[in-house]
Symmetry: C2
Subunit: 379 residues, 2 copies
């Protein structure tokens, strides 16, 4: 079966921003796009119906580390893959588990072979190798599978980052070999995306981009950014990588970021984004809206009966008031977590859709300047 | 404005079960009916859209004690009442706050005047009197307002229960006086229901029923049951009260109970029910289904990909599988709480609707015998 298709529909004349269309066996994804994170097979506090109807998500993420540990592969395989298990029939992308192994596992040890780690749930010991991680993601049934990589922290020494990048490149070769030797698991095409590493060192990033680009994968990811470095460096290295990765393949910037980060990185040539920020911050009372940022816990919203956000096309955001949502958050009602998560996700999806519209209309940069000022404002 | 109307449409020939229709300014309520509990202005973990579309709730409850403390009357009044605040445009019933004052408040002292209590949230001191509680419920904007009563525990001495019942009766007179002297708060009719007390003493229950019946209220409630006594006593005193309360007014049995309790009490002449059981037990992994009771935490559901409940007309219950819901509960995902709550509420609403259908069809008792055996079964 052919890999996913990427049609580059329009490139901005004043920036590197692009509008495109990814076609997978689970449907099409207009780009630029934000992908909500569904860690353990569920975008936290949001139903699949709400994801479709209120958020209008086109693709969601699953975390390999979480899904591998719980519910585990026997359950996912018996279900016929994650799509059938959780009832999400649009595309799914899974990360490689590498990032979670380093950030969540009770302990971990890296060798050439892979990573031995202990589950944060029950302390049980597991081994992830480039090969096993391909098999796991095949079994989960992701439409887009990520290569197994090591993501160095920031700051890190040059020597460490170089060694780590070389390991990631060797692991990529093993990933590609295993991926090529194994079949699509459930009758639809699965696609492998390699990941650029190299920390905050230009020569390493260039080397990594060249290596990744040489693989001619159906899409390419930029990893290892937004891990603690100043935001200017995120932009600097995103720009560098976008300039070196193939133009005719989608570019995925992993784990970024704020709404204004998205807009900036779209202008640098990124097509795909994921981040836990909209859902996590939403559960902590921080709302992103088309008018600016709201701390809904603040007393100033107590008597504000206006809709949460009437500027985005989301029924939930228009139905409930700021005062009601504030009450729900103060009273720690679960419904508050749901409404805040839907608002923030719908806002992110609205924002990438607007960006796409303005790229196609040719006024992306001027729109970006105005909207950035507006949505960054603290209300 | 006229009070709510109750049309008694059909009375079963083999039992005391009735099918009726309550008409309020916020719409009609077919009876028998189960009313989901929306403690602090939200039925926990369920959106108002899901309550309408998936659960098909016809009326929900609010708790006066909770709403009075948070968000508080200034907010509710500024919103234009609870309906406008939470976006629920069907009928709302509020309890009087009495029960929560006794079960939740940090401390409370009962006098003839009313109850002085300390908030469980911040320790602040408040006074509830029959008069203030009428005013509070007027401000909340409930369609059905409950009289302020004292609910004695079980077991309790005869002398205490008699003294408490007499106080509840005197409080009722003060409630009715205040209610009659005050206007509908937001342009639609509000209705006051008195509450029968008298514990588990037949002569007191009879005396209380006679007193309550003499008030010719638009509906009547039976309180003080299901507070720890054996279920046979719940049935015994429900039967006694139903026999003494007016036939042409809806009868509301407060805080009851399991699905089979509902069916038994419907056969004794009860029209309205509320209980936290479907939502609270749902959040603790206990599912009521049309096939029987399920502990969804149990390993036996790990690979069961059949719908949660295909026997009730609820899209959510048919969309998600038992295995997926089990995974969500094990992983403590918020979505699990939402799905389990919707399943249990939709089941309760399906059950009272089925009861109504069979009352009208004339085969209520035989249907009740069969369905009770089925739904009580532990799967």
């Amino acid at each position: 079966m052919p890999t996913l298709r990427f049609d580059l529909q329009h490139t901005d004349t004043n920036s590197k921003a692009r509008a495109g269309l990814i076609t997978t066996d689970h449907g099409q994804i207009p780009t630029p796009i934000f992908m909500p994170v569904g860690t353990a097979g569920s975008v936290k506090a949001v139903t699949q119906q709400q994801l479709k109807e209120d958020v209008d998500a086109k693709i969601i993420l699953g975390n390999t580390y979480h899904l591998y540990l719980r519910p585990g592969l026997p359950v996912l395989e018996a279900a016929g893959g994650l799509h059938r298990f959780n009832g999400w029939d649009r595309p799914i992308l899974t990360d490689s588990g590498g990032y979670q192994v380093f950030s969540l596992a009770a302990s971990r040890k890296i060798t050439e072979e892979g990573v031995i780690f202990q589950s944060h749930i029950d302390g049980s010991r597991h081994l992830f190798t480039p090969e096993s991680v391909m098999d796991v993601q095949r079994s989960i049934g992701a439409d887009i599978i990520m290569a197994f990589d090591e993501c160095p922290p920031y700051p890190a020494e040059y020597a460490y980052v170089k060694k780590s990048m070389d390991l990631t490149h060797r692991w990529l070769d093993r990933c590609m070999k295993r991926f090529g030797e194994t079949d699509n698991r459930y009758g639809y095409t699965q696609n492998l995306f390699p990941i650029v590493q190299g920390g905050t060192f230009s020569d390493l990033r260039k080397e990594s981009c060249a290596y990744i680009a040489s693989k001619d994968a159906p899409g390419n990811a930029i990893g290892g950014l937004s891990v603690g470095e100043p935001v200017e460096m995120v932009y600097e290295f995103t720009e560098l990588c976008c300039g070196l990765l193939p133009e005719n393949k989608p570019r995925y910037l992993m784990g970024v970021g704020t709404p204004w980060d998205l807009l900036e990185c779209i202008s640098l040539g990124v097509d795909m984004f994921d981040c836990v920020m909209p859902t996590r911050n939403g559960r902590n009372a921080m709302l992103f809206t088309s008018e600016g940022v709201i701390n809904i816990d603040n007393k100033k919203w107590e008597l504000d009966f206006s809709p949460i956000d009437s500027g985005i096309p989301c029924a939930v955001s228009q139905y409930y008031s700021k005062a009601y949502l504030r009450h729900l958050m103060k009273a720690r009602e679960y419904l508050g977590l749901t409404i805040a998560s839907i608002q923030n996700l719908a806002f992110y999806l609205w924002l990438t859709d607007e960006a796409r519209r303005h790229i196609q209309a040719g006024d992306f940069l001027s729109w970006k300047a105005g909207i950035t000022e507006k949505i960054r404002k603290r209300l």
